[in-house]
Assembly symmetry: C2
Homo-oligomer: 196 residues x 2
């Protein structure tokens, strides 16, 4: 996110300093324990400046790691439409992220999460605090977080095998075929009856 107004020399530097401080604090303390105040302190800027540049903690996080996932943009798109097409919208959004700018950063974050406990904790807390909570809140059923996490598990594996490792049988599917196969699964996870 660029400064909203009053751009002047030094703005870019200040923003970069805030992001560098954010990467450091998130990596050290995890997502939950990091406050915008502690980031401001490390960057040696007034906390109001952090709020000037960013719309809250999730926004700082996605900018710091250049993630193409902005919950405040993505969630409304997910929730806008018939409830019985939620699974389909989730799959389409997921496929769009891989085709969009910044997809390579997902690979980096995922790789770090498999290698470093701190990165794993950070990713876990971020996803729990933002994406999953958002989807879960939208799903007015029992066990919303279980349902959202089951969806995430399928999509992460699909991303790893189809986009990163490059399984031919999955690469041979075009996006519409992926939607046709996977959307009913996510729909059941999100809105289907609890299993016995």
């Amino acid at each position: 996110m660029s400064p909203r107004s009053g751009r002047r020399a030094g703005d870019t530097d200040t923003r970069q300093e805030i992001l560098a401080a954010a990467r450091s604090r998130f990596a050290e303390d995890g997502y939950d324990a990091t406050s915008l105040r502690s980031i401001a302190r490390l960057a040696d800027v007034d906390p109001a400046l952090v709020h000037h540049y960013f719309d809250g903690k999730a926004d700082v996080f996605t900018a710091a790691f250049e993630l193409p996932l902005q919950p405040e943009v993505l969630l409304p798109r997910l929730l806008d439409g018939p409830p019985d097409e939620l699974g389909e919208r989730v799959v389409r959004l997921f496929l769009g992220v891989w085709r969009g700018p910044g997809a390579e950063h997902i690979v980096g974050i995922l790789r770090s999460a498999l290698t470093h406990d701190a990165a794993a904790a950070m990713l876990r807390e971020f996803m729990t605090a933002t994406m999953l909570e958002g989807v879960a809140r939208a799903v007015d059923t029992d066990r919303p977080r279980t349902r959202a996490a089951l969806c995430a598990s399928h999509l992460v594996g699909l991303g790893v095998l189809r986009e990163i490792i490059g399984f031919q049988a999955l690469r041979d599917l075009d996006d519409e075929e992926v939607v046709a196969w996977v959307a009913p699964t996510l729909q059941r996870y999100l809105t289907g009856p609890l299993p016995d």
Copy 2:
């Protein structure tokens, strides 16, 4: 696998030399292009000795990387039972692998596959050549490899999020709950009608 008979001093060394040569050849040439003969040549042993210690290429591969996945053991277990419980057997087998010896090597292989193209190619070829082919052959429907790959994508993601990254919402599920949620998905992927 230990030598079948005639154990004598030097057996363990020979086996280890074969495995070291196998790791080197698989890493360099990939799974498909590596022959038992080329492994024997690098280990400077007679090819018959490789056949003495191992039941073919997949067996050498799983031993070389200490993978707790032996297709010749796992596949018959998958295929033994009613076809409409295939999804459930796949999930149970998958959960069993994570509880069994050598599970930490899966993490290592997966991590390598996300980092090194060669490791990704190796894992891809091995899974395609053994596990997926085996499941696919057992599924007497259209597009068996697509079906098997969709199952794999769900299970890999479940493994990454539940076992490696440690998503709480997934850790909170016991194995029976995972079976109840995920088995119907895999059953549909394996034996359900093709989507429109």
